[in-house]
Symmetry: C2
Subunit: 111 residues, 2 copies
DNA sequence: TACTAACGTAAGTGTCAACTGACAGAGAGG
DNA sequence: CCTCTCTGTCAGTTGACACTTACGTTAGTA
């Protein structure tokens, strides 16, 4: 899960995931979209994405077709949603409520 | 924006943001929560988070109080939400609709 | 002034990541 | 078999990053 987030922190890889989201594409076709880097670099990016479980790989003859792993992407999204809400907003509410209680009860506290 | 995502790809920094989400804390207090690394490391993490605009810094005497920048966090969240929906799901819908049209029109296509 | 607490920061190190260029294997077609 | 295409991978370079140690700075205090 941590690997997935780290993988998507790279703009190039976010773009790759975007490319193969709705279309299954061979490695060469994916690499062709990136004129700034070599095919080798894209191949390595694909390896990282596959390792992180963000893309699926399917062999067909001499080609390897890639497509996004929607399920894993959904998991990552859920993880982040949990981070925003449970981890932060809700924590803030709890803290504020607790502080309000402390203030109205003791007027001062620590820890 | 990209710096923010990259900053949050680091687990330690995610934890820091969590710590100062509801409470404004001095650097020392934050560092005290992390027994595995030195105060210097945390200070550098705080610098990166500040650079990415994810935390606010306020000087008070000899101390520096930190707290999360909710606004920037919301922006990042919106950016990701846009990535999931507009960038992916919607794109998939469009692609699937187009493919369905192609199939019912030609019966077969490539590229 | 001298001392101390709270910080940031420079310097140095080990590790990891992105990239290029060269090479190897696998499958298709002559 | 030979050749061409598609593709992963290895070797090597460069730069970024997380971390530690040491030092400098600033503000409060005796």
């Amino acid at each position: 899960m941590d690997a997935a987030l780290k993988a998507l922190a790279e703009p190039r890889r976010r773009e790759i995931v975007r490319l193969v989201w709705s279309e299954e594409l061979p490695a060469t076709a994916i690499a062709a979209r990136f004129s700034e880097v070599t095919r080798s670099a894209i191949s390595q990016h694909l390896g990282i994405l596959r390792e992180a479980g963000l893309v699926h790989e399917r062999k067909e003859g001499t080609r390897r077709l890639y497509r996004s792993n929607h399920h894993e992407m959904a998991r990552l999204r859920a993880y982040l949603d949990d981070y925003w809400t449970t981890g932060l907003e809700r924590l803030r509410d709890v803290a504020e409520a607790a502080e309000a209680q402390r203030e109205s009860r003791d007027g001062r506290t620590d820890t």
